[in-house]
Amino acid sequence: MLEVRNIYKTFNQDTPDEVKALQGVSFTIEDGSFVAVLGTNGSGKSTMLNAVAGAFQVDAGQILLDGHDITRLPEHQRARYVGRVFQNPFSGTAPDMSIAENLALASMRGQTRGLGWAVSPRMLDEFKTRIRQLNMGLEDRLSTMIGKLSGGQRQALTLLMASWLRPKLLLLDEHTAALDPKTAKKVIELTESIIQKDHLTTLMVTHSMQQAVNLGDRLIMMNKGQIIHDFRGEEKRRLRANDLLALFDEVRRKEQIDHTTAEMLSQAYV
């Protein structure tokens, strides 16, 4: 169970570039729940995910995983409990190392790395069986350098690696945004099957309304560093992309445009 209690984060504080990225975000995710987080650019959704991952320390608030306070734990120590897939398909794998070596690194996530062989013949069999479920023909290319693979293949591998040792929490950061539609669809299918098979507690950030509607059992909408809507259960199931569109329009209308900008816009566009 993940508990986020009232976290705040401001970047470049007291400078002209000050960004109040998180302004009091709180939520709880039950075990086995799959939560989609939706928001426009700059809504703070990725910042929130990175705060949970430990990419930076929050200014205030607490983050608890299974009751343990992980707020001050550095990123690499949180990795013991958390699996991550990044937006950039090149971020999650080491390009100049083979597929087998990358999987070997993932199979030691969060554990002490000693002087045992990274890749042993016994492990290769396991690698082959599990990589076969990707249906990408990679099982016969274990010694291929990752850098030779396509973005979609690398993202699929990252997903497999993040879930190799069942994480307490899986974090997906717009992990299909940089892929072409066909590949994105395949990676999404794979995401669903892995999450279902292992009953993974998942937090997925996305800016695709379709994805947010189709996936997961809960939807959190963010705007300006705050949670503005939280749909779950039956409400989430009934939700359609058009409803979300209407909600976003409402948000936009609320953010009153001041007079001069409105005039400028009407001159430019009407």
Binding site: G92, T93, D96, M97, E101, M108, R109, R113, G114, A118
Partner: protein, 310 residues
Amino acid sequence: MGVLIGALTIGFILSLLALGVYISFRVFNYPDMTTDGSVTLGAAVAAALLVYKVDPLTATLVATLAGLAAGATTGILHTRFRINELLSGILVMTALYSVNLHIMGRSNLPLLSERTLASQAEDVGKRVFGETVQIAGWSVAGTDLSVLLLSFFAAVVVGVILFVFLRTNLGTAMRATGNNPQMIRALGGNTDLMVVCGLALANGIIALSGALLAQYQGFADVQMGLGMLVWGIASLIIGESLIGVKSVGFLITGTIMGCVLFRLLVAIALRWGMNPNDLKLITAAFVFAALILPGLLAKLRIKERKAAHA
């Protein structure tokens, strides 16, 4: 023949240095200026201990440990205090200059009458090979041959250990740290610790190289480390173009071969009358050319292709 044997011996001794540079520069992507200081540190520590009649093997080992500490210092300056990679290396290198002078007590420490690993190898060589050995019609001094074998043995042992180490869980995590730090952090790797350990390992091997070099040459000099990082990079580049495969085993073999070949080329050039003072200039120019050539060639190829299409 003596010149050839001498060049090969120094080539193998310096190939340890090149292996150290391989770790810092290739595995960790870290241009580590500590190199220039830790070669001398290794030589200074070994020489000072040998003058105090310490057993040569112990002296060499302590020199290696000193290099280890120097590398770890650079790593801590960079990871803990967030000092730029180049600058943290330069700081330690500069500090080491004074440290080395203190260790040696003066700027040049001769070892002519001390027992060294080289003199021990020569004693063994005299017994095993006799005064001279015939190799392919050349007569070679038994002492020279034994020292060559010792340096070859050192390079192979360190190369094999490094090869094995880089394929362990820890070694693989170190390679991943240089290749994609974000990824290995997300998989629970402490990248800061990896950098500190990696630089310590690299400079330990580099100091070992310095210690062996001092014992072979018969002196340690406070200036002997100058330009050694560039020398190591040159060896790396030659090795990569010789073998050119991105797997660890090939790269390690290539680095050793590249260093020996480079040393041979230098020996030949000196023989043909190259001014020894130009050595560093030519090495630097060589590395410069090797760094920009691939880009230039790629550009040329694109131009040709465009011309072909036009």
